[in-house]
């Protein structure tokens, strides 16, 4: 239909342009123009304009944000970057696409080889293009100017405390914001929570553990005398207990995608990651200001320090940037390097700014005001940074380029560090030599086996093959000797380590500080302009920081992240704290404060908290303390909420009651152990940790591809935060109860309800064993009766007394014959006393499995 008028128009146009050129210009340009008009333009019109022109844009049919009907459009390109790079046909997307390598354009059939050759020549000759016209405004993400007007990129504002009708409820400015919204939805607050529920809520929220029987008793006693004082004293004691850091540090470890192994295809162990974990726990316990905490993790190695201890802390903190999962299977060093950088950028973006900056690696961000050039400005900083994560999979030649050193720490670091590093390098070298000789030997073995098959064939050249076989057999014997020698040398080195300092994962500046080039479509082979190192343009703080020539710029990056004028950092963090305490963030997408993220339910409150947090010295403990004293937090559960609350506000966005929260995996395990009496509440000493006992060079993961241990082997009786997080081999309780995936930063865990969880409570031997411990312990006291035992169980597990009905029901269960019908398969015969213990075990198991235990209110 369209071909006829277009070709007519073309001929007219070509005629016009040719005459125009003749009257005008030098011969060269004339020839180029001729070439363009004859060979290039008709093809563009015929095959490309339908989807890539102003006209197609006006019909909403523009594809890939790419317009090919103007010179500027061609040079600027679309979502995937410039369509052509004049002079460089091999680097030009248009050329690659019409050759069907990468994109396949035009989609309805490949152009003829002659036409493709014309396009290559045209680009090689400089891509002469006379077509004027402005760049099409295509529908992309927000521009930087638009972005600056988006709510999360504008600075937090101090808002007036809103007026409310109910005038004796609010006890903190926070409550006024909450109450005003509540009233606007015709909701009213719930009555105050009772002492037992409050006690549990505070213990779980501040420490992740339930109160013990005696802790409960002393609080309830104090509360009956002076509730306010009892509450205040309890909160202060919980905030200063080391369990606070174990609970709140773990949230940050989710965000920091902490793991004790690499994951992916080569799941090697991060033997030294635990130092970072303990640093995080310790930082929360010491209430290190959040801005300082971020500075240490991004640029600890570049900060001035007053003591060797502080210096070590800061170095260990930078492990944050080194803990990511790496693709050791990758064979191209440059791709490997850019992937590590990408992981770091994504980490910093999500964890601190609540933005998915990584999206801008291949194209301008589709939604947020982050151009690709911003991504590569950040990439330059990390390109100038050397991650120190230790060695790549041992003895694999293909990944030798990925080896890095570790950071020596501890009092003897300076003295022992260099020799230790030399030793590791030596081991690495010897392992490599051993493995290379093994595979060289194996190659001959393979050839030999093939030759032995060939020689049996009727048409085989027997004498030649026989000679070859003999030769190969001798070769193998030679190899045997070499392999043996290499093995012995390695073993000898393993057995004779020098005195070692402590080791940590960390980062340091590279010797070469460099800016990064834009990688078109994220490809390492398709480089564009160099971008100066820098930060995101949309958050420009009276001129973004100048990057130093002799340093990576991480320190400047860190300063920019935690600058009080940065509109994101404080908001993102207080939102996470809020989410931990109320079950839902004021912004319900805690990792996405961008255009696609949710809008804040209480934007004024979020700003209020962000400003207050910064004014109070970025103190997590102060923030948490303030929040748990708010009337909002001190409301009762859903059963106490006024009648209409759940129908008006099923998701509890307006917080007119406190929604019960599920115990997270760690709390679940810890609580079971505490109730059973088996929990060791002391922090795990590092030298007792399973990984610390392993000599990294004893086992060769390269050969087995197998994890060195099963989750059961790493089990200990300390809190779950000290269990190793081996990517892909998580402890069962973590796997089943939605532990945060350590593959990426996570602010909000899933909350799945699947039968596998139920089966865990019904049948898991560990759960039954813990129930058995509790039962045996209670039964050992023969002076008390079953009623007293049931009461103790209720107090320990639920922090309350059973009602008379609950008590009699439990006693009925303990006396009911079916409550213990041993499986006929189990041949154990039990005496009456054992049977009683077993029945009580069954009851304890019910308590662990119950909703009341698995949720706190």
């Amino acid at each position: 239909m369209f071909t006829i008028p277009i070709s007519v128009a073309l001929r007219l146009m070509i005629g016009f342009i040719i005459s125009f050129c003749i009257s005008n210009a030098v011969f060269a340009s004339d020839a180029r123009s001729d070439f363009f008009e004859k060979k290039i333009r008709p093809v563009l019109v015929m095959h490309c304009y339908e989807c890539h022109s102003a006209k197609s844009a006006s019909k909403g049919k523009l594809k890939g944000g790419l317009a090919l009907d103007t010179r500027k459009g061609l040079l600027q390109g679309g979502e995937n970057g410039p369509a052509i790079i004049p002079g460089k046909p091999n680097d030009s997307m248009l050329i690659k696409s019409i050759k069907y390598s990468g994109l396949e354009m035009p989609p309805d059939g490949k152009l003829s080889p002659l036409v493709i050759a014309d396009f290559e020549k045209w680009v090689a000759d400089g891509a002469y293009d006379p077509r004027e016209g402005e760049i099409l405004k295509t529908k992309q993400g927000l521009s930087i100017e638009e972005g600056k007007k988006f709510w999360s990129f504008m600075p937090p504002r101090g808002n007036e405390i809103p007026k409310v009708r109910l005038n004796d409820w609010a006890s903190d400015p926070v409550d006024f914001f909450i109450l005003a919204k509540m009233e606007s939805q015709k909701l009213t607050p719930s009555p105050k929570v009772n002492a037992n529920t409050l006690l549990r809520r505070l213990y779980y929220d501040l420490t992740g553990l339930p109160p013990t029987e005696s802790e409960s008793a002393s609080f309830l006693q104090a509360f009956s005398v002076n509730p306010e004082q009892a509450k205040s004293e309890l909160v202060d004691s919980l905030l200063s207990s080391h369990h606070f850091g174990e609970k709140w540090g773990r949230h940050w470890l989710d965000v920091a995608r902490y793991a004790d192994s690499n994951g992916r295809d080569r799941n090697i162990y991060n033997y030294h990651a635990w130092r970072y974990r303990d640093y995080v726990i310790d930082s929360f316990n010491r209430d290190v200001p959040f801005d300082q905490f971020i500075r240490e993790q991004i640029a600890g190695d570049l900060l001035p320090t007053k003591s060797p201890l502080e210096r070590d802390r800061n170095l260990i903190a930078t492990g944050f940037l080194s803990l990511g999962s790496k693709a050791f299977e990758e064979s191209k060093p440059e791709v490997f390097r850019m992937d590590v950088i990408d992981e770091q950028i994504e980490l910093v973006g999500r964890s601190v700014l609540g933005l998915s900056v990584g999206c801008a690696r291949c194209h301008n961000h589709k939604f947020d005001p982050i151009p690709t050039s911003d991504y590569y400005a950040l990439a330059g900083i990390f390109r100038s940074t050397q991650p120190l994560y230790g060695y790549s999979p041992k003895g694999i030649k293909a990944t030798a380029f990925a080896h890095t050193e570790l950071q020596a720490v501890g009092p003897d670091a300076e003295k022992l560090g260099p020799a230790g590093l030399a030793y590791f390098a030596k081991l690495q070298e010897l392992t490599l030599a051993q493995n290379v000789s093994r595979s060289d030997r194996y190659r001959v073995v393979r050839r030999l086996s093939a030759a032995k098959i060939d020689i049996k064939k009727p048409d085989a050249d027997k004498s030649r093959l026989e000679a070859e076989i003999t030769k190969m057999e001798t070769e193998i014997k030679d190899w045997d000797v070499k392999v043996k020698a290499n093995e012995t040398a390695l073993q000898k080195a393993i057995d004779n380590p020098p005195p070692m300092p402590g080791w940590a994962m960390a980062v340091r500046d590279r010797e070469k500080i460099e800016d990064c080039k834009i990688h078109v479509r994220g490809e390492t082979t398709n480089l564009g302009d160099t971008v100066s190192r820098g930060t995101l343009q949309v958050v420009s703080l009276a001129g973004n920081p100048m990057m130093p020539k002799n340093q990576s710029g991480r320190r400047e990056l860190a300063d920019w992240l935690v600058d009080r004028r940065n509109p994101l950092t404080a908001r993102v963090y207080v939102n996470r704290v809020w989410q931990q305490l109320f079950g839902r963030g004021l912004v319900s997408t805690p990792d996405d404060f961008g255009v696609n993220g949710a809008r804040a339910s209480h934007p004024e409150l979020l700003d209020h908290l962000a400003l207050r947090f910064m004014e109070q010295g970025w103190s997590t403990k102060k923030l948490v303390r303030a929040l748990v004293f708010c009337s909002t937090y001190l409301q009762g559960g859903p059963d106490e909420s006024p009648l209409n609350a759940k129908s008006i506000d099923p998701d509890n966005i307006y917080l007119s009651y406190m929604r019960p929260r599920r115990l997270q995996a760690e709390s679940l395990r810890d609580a079971i152990m505490q109730v059973a009496g088996s929990l060791d509440r002391a922090p795990l000493q590092p030298e007792k940790a399973f990984l610390a006992k392993y000599n990294p060079y004893r086992e060769d993961e390269y050969r087995t591809f197998q994890p060195l241990f099963t989750p059961e082997q790493v089990e200990h009786m300390h809190r779950s935060v000290y269990l190793p997080v081996v990517r892909g081999v998580l402890p069962e309780v973590f796997q089943l109860f939605d532990f945060a995936s350590p593959d990426r930063p996570t602010s909000q865990r899933e909350e799945s309800i699947v039968p596998a969880q139920s089966l865990y409570f019904m049948n898991n031997p560990w759960v039954i064993a813990q129930a058995g411990l509790l039962s045996a312990h209670l039964s050992s006291d023969e002076k008390i009766d079953d009623a007293a035992r049931v009461r103790t169980i209720y107090r320990r597990a639920y922090s309350r007394e059973p009602s008379p009905r609950e008590l009699s029901r439990a006693l009925d269960y303990l006396n009911q014959p079916e409550s213990l019908v041993p499986d006929p398969k189990s041949k154990k015969s039990l005496d009456e006393k054992q049977l009683r213990i077993e029945r009580l075990t069954s009851f304890c198991q019910i308590v662990f499995a119950s909703a009341e235990f698995r949720y706190f209110r």
Binding site: R264, D265, R266, N267, E329, S356, K366, R443, R446, R447, S449, A450, I453, D592, G594, N596, G597, G637, D639, L643, N644, K646, S647, R659, P660, R662, F705, P707, G728, E732, D738, S741, E751, S752, I753, V754, P755, A756, S758, L759, Y760, M762, N763, N764, R809, Y813, S819, L820, V821, P822, D823, P824, E838, S842, Q845, I846, A849, S850, A851, Y855
Partner: protein
């Protein structure tokens, strides 16, 4: 007050009918993803109607880890055999012809290697795709792409998408089961529901690293209590849980209650399906079910009969860089009889027409090698086959070049295969989407074309 009473009563009734608030909520959420739902069954895996009429109701995926050689199985290369020993285009290598003959089978005359005599008897049921290709030539990445479409990001597995799209036919069993799955080298990602609701992830039986004949599901059995004892334990537990539900009216508690009941039924149902004692001696023999792979095929049939939507079984290892002769002989002998028995049984039960069987590895192998008894990785051309479930039987689609280096005709990318499998299941791969992190995700990302030529 009155309002509250009514809602509570309705609530309780609906709970006792096993169709409560949670299920309702779940359905509302699902309804936006999928227009029609069968309202008679509660829960996140309630059966859903497909986008259009389906040819296959379920999938059995026979995953051959390591990359089986197409030149030694389903893609005869006479020219390669003729040029055996000649220098290959890779100068360090020599062309290596197959050591085995191919013969024509059935009415279709489909050519299959002589190493698979039993499977060859079912040639007229097979639809061989000889033009397969994929993007990556490393095992972990290629396996991940075969399962999830992506090797760069963690994405839901094909089985998870299937379950998400169609729900499960049996509410007492998992809807997606992987027997002896690959658990190392990032393997768990192959079977994960990623961002899809967790109920869609695979239930894993056993482990390919330690393949055992009788794989078990974690925590499915209790040797302490007999069923009656456990029921009375559960009765008290559920009574306590219901009290909390009545007090808080929290849909999550209802989910918990349902989940305990499903778990209790699963405890019973799963071992029954997995207990092959009722199978005749001749069946055990036909499947060679005293061995691991045969048992897996038999279990796959039993799961299919029981209404499991997506069943995957794994055989490893086909990574023949060396010892090709011995390796192929051994592996083919292991898989031949069981696969034949599976096809035979599905056919005899009339189930082959709505069960799609898929066979293949993550890539194929090179026609050349520096040694004369091994082959390298080849992602540019390899073979897979489909059977039943609405594909044309007894045909080969597509081709590699004369040596087998790369697919040249009827090319089917792994995205195309995914699109085709979903199509056979009645799902439009462009419409089966899930919103996550602000955008809609598909199994096929922005790719995938249904291979129309093979649709029956």
């Amino acid at each position: 007050m009155n309002h509250n009473k009514i809602s509570r009563r309705i609530m309780l009734e609906s709970v006792s009918a096993g169709f409560g608030y949670l299920a309702l909520q779940g359905m509302v959420a699902q309804a936006t993803a999928n227009e029609t739902i069968d309202k008679s069954v509660p829960g996140p895996l309630a059966p859903k109607k497909p986008h259009f009429s389906a040819r296959a109701k379920r999938v059995i995926f026979l995953c051959m880890r390591g990359g089986p050689s197409h030149m030694e199985t389903f893609d005869p290369k006479p020219k390669l055999t003729a040029d055996n020993g000649k220098v290959a285009k890779n100068q360090n290598s020599k062309l290596l012809g197959s050591r085995w003959k191919f013969s024509k089978h059935g009415q279709s005359g489909l050519e299959i290697v002589d190493l698979l005599p039993e499977t060859s008897k079912h040639a007229d049921k097979l639809c061989v795709l000889r033009g397969m290709h994929t993007d990556n030539e490393n095992h972990p990445q290629a396996l991940e792409q075969m399962h999830t479409g992506s090797f760069q990001f963690i994405r839901p597995s094909l089985g998870s998408w299937t379950l998400y799209g169609l729900g499960s036919e049996n509410q007492n069993l998992p809807g997606f089961i992987s027997i002896n799955p690959l658990t190392s080298l990032g393997g768990l990602r192959y079977y994960s529901s990623a961002f899809l609701p967790a109920a869609n992830s695979a239930t894993l039986l056993g482990d390919a690293n330690r393949p055992i004949r009788n794989p078990v599901v974690g925590n499915v059995s209790n040797n302490r209590l007999a069923t009656i004892g456990q029921r009375s334990q559960l009765d008290l537990l559920q009574e306590m849980n219901r009290e909390l539900l009545n007090r808080d009216q929290d849909p999550r508690i209802e989910g918990l209650i349902q989940s305990y009941e499903l778990a209790f039924r699963m405890q019973d149902a799963l071992p029954k399906v997995m207990d092959v004692a009722s199978e005749s001696k001749s069946t055990i023999a036909r499947y060679n079910a005293e061995e691991t792979f045969g048992r897996q095929c038999l279990l796959a049939r039993r799961f299919a009969e029981a209404g499991v939507r997506f069943i995957e079984i794994t055989h490893t290892d086909w990574d023949h860089h060396g010892f090709l002769t011995g390796g192929m002989t051994k592996n083919c002998a292991i898989i031949d009889k069981p696969i034949a028995a599976l096809l035979e049984d599905l056919d005899a039960r009339g189930m082959l027409q709505d069960t799609l069987v898929v066979w293949g590895g993550e890539f194929g192998r090179t026609p050349d090698d520096p040694t004369s008894d091994g082959r390298g990785h080849n992602n540019k051309g390899f073979s897979m086959w489909l059977a039943g479930g609405g594909v044309k039987p007894g045909m080969a689609h597509g081709a590699t070049d004369e040596y087998g280096y790369e697919a040249v005709e009827g090319k089917v990318h792994i995205h195309d295969l995914h699109a085709t499998i979903l199509h056979l299941l009645g799902l439009d791969h462009e419409k089966l989407t899930y919103k996550h992190g602000g955008r809609d995700f598909r199994l096929t990302d922005v790719h995938g074309k249904v291979v129309k030529e093979i649709l029956a």
